[in-house]
């Protein structure tokens, strides 16, 4: 996720949930995903290619995504990733889980400050 090798991922599942959420907006190819996450997070988050493509393949294997073959405007072959119904269900359950985790996290931080 971040460029610092000591912080490759924010927490387990963070990259997956950001990919799923981004693809829920619209189907995208890999590079567009990287750009989208970077742009939406105001450059706070940057997806590393080394993490993105294995994660996409994992999610394809789990049936959360599907890849569509196509041809770009310049006539080059493309792979567009699209969310499946299973992907949407997984995203929704993960969002609930993450919100609970963040709520707990925030409370712990607030208690530490007080």
């Amino acid at each position: 996720m971040a460029r610092n090798p000591e912080h490759r991922d924010l927490f387990p599942g963070a990259l997956e949930i950001m990919i799923l959420q981004s693809l829920r907006l619209k189907p995208m190819h890999g590079y567009a995903l990287v750009k989208h996450i970077k742009q939406v997070s105001d450059n706070l988050l940057q997806v590393e290619e080394g993490s993105l493509y294995p994660a996409l393949q994992r999610m394809l294997k789990e049936g959360l995504l599907e890849a569509q073959t196509g041809i770009s405007a310049k006539g080059r072959p493309t792979r567009i990733y699209r969310l499946t119904a299973a992907g949407i269900r997984h995203l929704e359950s993960e969002v609930v889980r993450f919100e609970r985790m963040f709520a707990g996290f925030t409370r712990v931080l607030a208690a530490a400050k007080a």
Binding site: Y53, K61, R76
Partner: protein
């Protein structure tokens, strides 16, 4: 899913990964060129930013593989290639293994037939070995073991009764061989 279609799907996945990676690099090159970089410079920067393409392709493919089995197969292939390239070593190893396995098999076969498996005679548990118990005849050859079936040793027959004074029965479970010789000795006494 048949083996063929699995193989086909696997190849298609590998193509997908390669296409995605190439697409990523191409888009980055286009973007850098739009920003004013030359084609060469853009390609160099895009590839440098992307990192190790081969490694990333491998890591992406691994998701679809039966990792342990496939790495085992790769190791086996590597071993076969190395062995093929050094025939002297291969022949030495194969001969060593063959001789080792052969010797083990031979020793086990002997032990199995002598110690483990019952003898191929009827009622082998009744076989006994006889040996001489005569202090006055110490000089006599003792290598001539005499064997008989136990019922004969304890037989009420006078000839064998005489023999049992001179010959002590011991269970060895070996072949009865010099029975007739025993009989002739016992009758001489």
């Amino acid at each position: 899913v048949s083996r063929f279609s699995r193989f086909f799907f696997k190849n298609r996945r590998c193509d997908d990964i390669s296409v995605s990676i190439q697409e990523h690099i191409d888009k980055r090159i286009d973007e850098l060129m739009k920003e004013g970089a030359s084609r060469e410079e853009a390609e160099r920067t895009a590839r440098r930013d992307f990192g190790n393409v081969t490694l990333l392709r491998e890591r992406s493919r691994e998701v679809w593989q039966w990792q342990r089995l496939e790495s085992l197969l790769v190791d086996l292939k590597h071993v076969c290639r190395r062995l093929w390239r050094s025939p002297g070593f291969t022949i030495t190893v194969v001969l060593t293994l063959a001789i080792g396995i052969g010797a083990n098999t031979a020793v086990f076969s002997v032990l199995n037939s002598v110690l483990i498996r019952p003898l191929s005679y009827p009622e082998p548990q009744q076989l006994v070995a006889m040996r001489l118990n005569a202090p006055a005849r110490q000089g006599w050859p003792t290598s001539g073991m005499n064997y008989a079936y136990r019922p004969r040793c304890i037989s009420p027959s006078p000839r064998i009764t005489v023999a049992s004074n001179r010959w002590v029965c011991g269970c060895l479970g070996l072949q009865a061989s010099r029975e007739s010789h025993n009989r002739s000795r016992s009758t001489q006494r």
